[in-house]
């Protein structure tokens, strides 16, 4: 893709966008003004990603673009041509909940679930960078999301729990050898 030449697309024209969605090659048609959030849901049929405010405030539509958490309502579908997009569906590839999702379940970190997909995607990215965050760091990261059910406390608990379990899992082989 890096060698690709500049590409102009006229308004009203449809173009095929090819991307890797949750590890699988997918493609779909879009116009210039189609938002990525709508493209993922309507064109690719991956409805796990939810659309809330549609101007970047609520965080419900957060997905990963090349592994980095970002709002899909603040991106155009054409912008992801040739890129890797991961959505909440990718966290449970074999219909089995990932450890982050299991922690949310254990701690009742969701009620209606509308905001959850976006929050999970933010947490997944953040925990890759900061594997052992403080409560304050978790709250700061969650400030980019609105949840009207939980009051955030169980979400914070779930994130800290999964971080602690991952840490324990990573450290335990050493403990055995010690």
């Amino acid at each position: 893709m890096s060698k690709a030449s500049s590409n102009t697309m006229r308004q009203g024209e449809t173009q095929r966008v090819a991307l890797t969605l949750n590890g699988r090659a997918r493609s779909g048609l879009c116009e210039t003004r189609d938002l990525l959030s709508d493209f993922i849901r309507h064109e690719l049929g991956a409805t796990g990603t939810h659309v809330g405010c549609e101007h970047g405030v609520c965080g419900a539509c957060t997905v990963h673009i090349d592994g980095v958490a970002a709002r899909s309502c603040l991106m155009l579908a054409v912008q992801v041509h040739g890129r890797r997009v991961d959505t909440v569906e990718g966290l449970a590839p074999d219909q089995t909940l990932g450890d982050l999702q299991q922690a949310f379940q254990r701690h009742h970190a969701l009620q209606c679930g509308f905001c959850t997909a976006g929050i999970l995607m933010s947490c997944a990215d953040y925990l890759q960078r900061v594997p052992d965050p403080t409560e304050e760091q978790v709250r700061e990261m969650l400030s980019g999301h609105l949840c009207r059910c939980t009051g955030y406390t169980p979400i914070v608990a779930a994130v800290l729990d999964v971080a602690a379990r991952r840490k324990q899992r990573n450290e335990s082989p050493e403990a055995v050898h010690a």
Binding site: N7, T8, G12, R33, H55, V68, R129
Partner: protein, 273 residues
């Protein structure tokens, strides 16, 4: 879809972006991170004819330290996150490091660009404030020429800059930490990550104080004093709070804004001392 129709150019080179800007001028908008522009398009507050996407223009996606000139140079496509997560940012430009946590949220900084925030010129935004406080520069390039403006000359009012319609904000230059300089940053907003009602950045040396204030006037404003203390400093802050021409708005009164300038100004200067 929510935005009004537009043509779209994915510019893979700076030259392609500049050619399109030269041709389309005022009817074109540059899309970098899109964290302000996409919201504006979604609400149809802007309806450009052409969107020039520079988010994949590799030659603009650069962050580098120029030790000779004494700048941290951030290219037009570099995200805020790519600067924020630099390992040695605390040594390079500590004031930037202090300001980043106040800029919206982690998810927005992942995609939003430094130059985009500068070009957008929101009077309450943190990056224009930091650039002004440090006396940084904006590099503007058009098809015909390149020019460099001081931050103070670049910002001209609420969402208004000296950028000509055919120019691209190619890079911004933040002065590197200088020996003897100390820094402070804080802001007040309704919730963490919201737009600042008042934001203050201080640069203090053993014999001078400069305080930059955002969110009050129509652009970031810097005031320079000798190394004032106690009542002299309080008096200077009071004068500044009146000079900025605070206005009432839907959120807070002018009186409260003046109060915040005095209190936050004092706090960041003392923190920097």
């Amino acid at each position: 879809m929510k935005p009004a129709p537009f043509d779209y150019l994915r510019a893979m080179t700076t030259q392609d972006a500049l050619d399109a800007l030269a041709e389309t001028g005022e009817d074109a908008r540059v899309l970098a991170g899109g964290q302000s522009l996409m919201a504006v398009l979604n609400m149809r507050l802007a309806q450009p004819r052409l969107l020039i996407d520079i988010s994949r223009t590799e030659e603009l996606n650069t962050v580098r330290v120029d030790n000779e000139a004494g700048y941290l140079v951030v290219g037009a496509a570099a995200t805020q996150g790519s600067v924020e997560w630099r390992e040695w940012l605390v040594n390079e430009t500590p004031l930037l490091m202090m300001a980043f946590p106040y800029i919206s949220h982690f998810q927005i900084r992942n995609r939003g660009t430094v130059c985009g925030s500068i070009a957008h010129a929101d009077p309450s935004a943190e990056l224009p404030l930091v650039l002004t406080a440090l006396g940084g520069e904006v590099v503007l390039r058009s098809k015909k020429k390149k020019r460099v403006l001081a931050a103070a000359d670049f910002f001209q009012g609420m969402l208004m800059t000296a950028r000509a319609p055919d120019e691209l904000v190619e890079a911004v230059r933040f002065p590197l930490k200088k020996p003897g300089e100390r820094y402070g940053f804080t802001e007040f907003s309704a919730r963490h990550g919201d737009f600042a009602m008042v934001a203050c950045a201080a640069v203090v040396t053993p014999d001078s104080i400069s305080l930059a204030v955002g969110g009050v006037a129509d652009r970031p404003v810097v005031e320079r004093w000798p190394y004032l203390k106690g009542d002299d400093l309080r008096g200077a802050l009071n004068d500044l709070s009146w000079k900025l021409g605070a206005q009432d708005d839907a959120h807070i009164s002018a009186k409260y804004r003046r109060h915040l300038v005095r209190q936050l100004g004092w706090r960041v200067i003392e923190e920097a001392k």
